[in-house]
Symmetry: D2
Subunit: 300 residues, 4 copies
């Protein structure tokens, strides 16, 4: 962040105003502040709507007197999460300002149930900022998993990769700048010149989403199988959400992030195993892949 | 509203808290208060996110330096509305508590891009409240329009209709109550008993929507062709939105509510007419229906 | 079905035409035919797009050469379902014609990711057809579950309920008809008269949805906790889907319908139990409700 | 297209099968065939659901007997389009296979109401194919419009731009290939290596959308203000849709593509002008920008 940007944030934080809306103390502390992610990225909360009580309030509208029997908000929120009631969580909303590499943005945007305003490279000139992985993150292709990573590269191979990433970014941006320059020339249209820029250039957007869909995003992207470069954004958001709606986040951690889905065959196997039967992949009815994943759940 | 409900609202309004978020003064005055609609319905604002400045702020993220040339927020918002830029308007969100007859709710829910928590008649017992039209609103079927209304019914016909609506509602609710009663009997499941209730019974829900989709709803439902019983809700919401985001609402009024869509043939006819040519339905290339609607736009 | 409707269906089925699109043999046998549900309802397939091979074809576009290593379509479809890959299933689409009571339609429409054209009671006159439960389905309110059903009502209580449902429907429709009649009177607007009709009247719609969202619908509505009157529609659709995309349906049955979700605490308990530890609700960290549901999964 | 791909397409077209579904003759002629766009891109129809008759059939379910008075399908489709009835058009669906540059894909994906399966550069290796504009398309930045194009570049400036686009693409791909190579080295993970590739590289996806949302896409992207590189895809699709649903496409052309939206002020000005009044920007109540656009509609 530049000193100018930091000053802007502090100015935005300097002037609280009275409101009659639900206020989340934990979230007010985050507002506008940048949580740094990767080498030049960040996540900032720009606005939010609702808190834990807004979730139970909506549930009580739906379920009426019945829900009043549930003694407290925590129990009700856990019940709603456990039973896949999605609409009460949709009553909370968050608006984030995110700066992220284009290849991460391309994965992110596949989650369609959100509102987005992205910086437009048709209208405006992109900044010279590129994601260059830290050496430890320069992972080899996994030898067992088509979409996974192995160990970090080392020695000359690592050095060569880093050099290329740096040099190609620099050259691409130099040419981008030269192509659009209007000093002594017409200047290529920005909407065309941008095509020369690689996918590690940073873009930024406002991203607004309700809590139910945010949880869905976080379940997939804070997962160990997600690409590291998007996972770190998801992890930064998890911390923010934990401060915003602590009860809902705790339920999410227990029932989604830390939970597991068993198939009908998996349920059957657990029952047989608990009755003392020795079950093997061969007698489980599962394929080798399924069995390996099943054992990862029950036998850790 | 019962005195108890009024007291609840005043209590909710009694305790402003500081926030760093964008605050709309006009909207704070509405928060929690009930705007009465029809005989027992209402619209209440429960929460909101953003204001006029949030729209231009999002646009400026997208369009970067280019938008800074536009001298002020009003001009930018009008530009965005005129050119169908929808995403900046999606950055504002509103959450309403609405009480409405079931047949109105059934029309309303066809707008899918919103979040809803409706009172559940599986869990809870519905109140004895039915919409009975005022005598002036007891309209006859239009003789020219399959879905329209004509003049109000009069005399015996009107009286008979009102009697039936009142008596059938009362009887249906009496039987509903008797069917679910557990005094001296098992009591029919609520999820079954509700099927005896007519479509003029009131239900309620929390409805949360972004400003772009709300404008789309209002354009269709505040229109003269919308059924009166949903239009009055749309009109109540129009007043709220005018106080919430006055610049956006003014642009919406000019470009959507008060505007008109011309077909390619319509554009061609306007051009010919402005050059002094006399154009008739026969020479317009339009069908009779299209021509009638076209003349309603240009010749009023 | 009237003889006229049956003749229409047979006429629609009489004239196969050549197509180059993917064809599902199982689905062709269903096209246009009515599967009867409840006393007057039905589900009919009007159109469909794709088959099992369309799912794997889309997956192979996404995952490229990697997916070719998976030896066959069945294994790939099971992998996609197990790992929550939703987009390949979105490549199949189905269009249904459904006739259903209004109170069922109101539950159904809460699933927003679908396209709907419903019969309009503003334009047209509804038919005199009401859902009257069979005696065995006249369930009492559950004494343990706010939204559940208990045993069937019996004796006088049952008789009285059935009489009321029948009589009130009949009277409401008689008055509806009399109110809109234009013989010797103006006739109340249809959009108003419909408000007198109870929620057990039948409506109908075209409902179009992709396979991923259909599976989501079926998981919730073919579940034992769904209201019986919507569950029977879900069950009729399950049979249709099983014929349309047999491999996908089998995976859905195993991983969704028959599977179970364990929380982090649930996973931990299963591991402890498999190591021989005796775990009780008190030592599980779960609430009583959670424990009861957990035992329902592992101990059946 | 390689000879192998052409053979695949011919094979897919060689074996028509009988179906009872609605068949569009015009669309069958397109199935699987590649419509070339830009230097290496294409659009291919993979599947479709429905035809013109499916639109009116759905409308007739909704509007019942009322719509039978409309003498023919063409009149009804025009009526539906003119009055913004969207749901009957949602009853048709199309699935396309598209190959397109990444910067075009990034614009395209902003339309969220569609299903997408994109080629994954995490799993698979991208091909060495880049969009290099034809010389005539190498437009300068517009001097009047932040997002527009001016005249084509010429001479040395054009030559230099083309050289850079070609050289930088080639070098970026060479390094991409070298980074992931596993000959004598570990090989960088594909999910990382892809970040070196510029936005003019081609990707491909399956894109499935309903006709209403496709029309919305085409209205924005076949417009003169859309970037040329996406407009050519929209134009290719327009031709396909014209063959698929000729009546709906004609109505779309008349009411959307060729039509114009007037604001309330614009309507007022047209009325005044038709009454013989001389209206200027100053007396119109419009800003200069609005007036210029208004004159573009009425005075061409």
């Amino acid at each position: 962040m530049t000193p100018e940007q930091k000053a802007e944030i502090e100015a935005a934080r300097a002037d609280p105003q009275p409101t009659l809306r639900a206020v989340s103390e934990g979230m007010e502390a985050h507002l506008y502040r940048a949580h740094e992610v990767l080498d030049h990225g960040f996540v900032r909360v720009i606005d939010y709507m609702g808190d834990d009580a807004a979730i139970t309030q909506a549930a009580r509208v739906s379920y009426g007197r019945g829900t009043k029997a549930v003694s407290n908000d925590e129990g009700l929120i856990r019940y709603l999460m456990r039973h896949w009631h999605s609409t009460p969580f949709e009553m909370c909303e968050i608006k984030l300002h995110v700066k992220l590499p284009v290849f991460v943005a391309r994965q992110w945007i596949r989650h369609r149930t959100a509102n987005v305003n992205e910086y437009s490279a048709r209208y405006s000139i992109l900044d010279r900022e590129f994601y260059i992985p830290a050496e430890d993150d320069l992972a080899a292709q996994s030898v067992t998993n088509n979409q996974g990573r192995g160990e970090a590269l080392t020695g000359e191979e690592a050095a060569r990769v880093l050099d290329w990433l740096r040099e190609d970014s620099t050259r691409a941006y130099d040419h981008y700048e030269a192509m659009i320059s209007q000093e002594g020339q017409q200047g290529l249209a920005r909407e065309l010149a941008r095509m020369n820029l690689p996918a590690n250039i940073y873009t930024q957007w406002y991203w607004k989403v309700d809590l139910h869909n945010l949880f869905h995003f976080l379940r997939l992207r804070a997962d160990a199988h997600a690409q590291m470069e998007i996972r770190v954004y998801a992890e930064a958001m998890c911390k923010i959400v934990a401060d915003w709606v602590p009860l809902a986040y705790q339920a999410f951690e227990d029932y989604r992030l830390g939970g597991a889905q068993l198939s009908a065959k998996g349920v059957e196997c657990v029952r047989r195993m608990l009755k003392g039967e020795e079950v093997t992949q061969e007698t489980s009815g599962m394929s080798k892949g399924e069995w390996r994943e099943f054992m990862g759940v029950v036998d850790a």
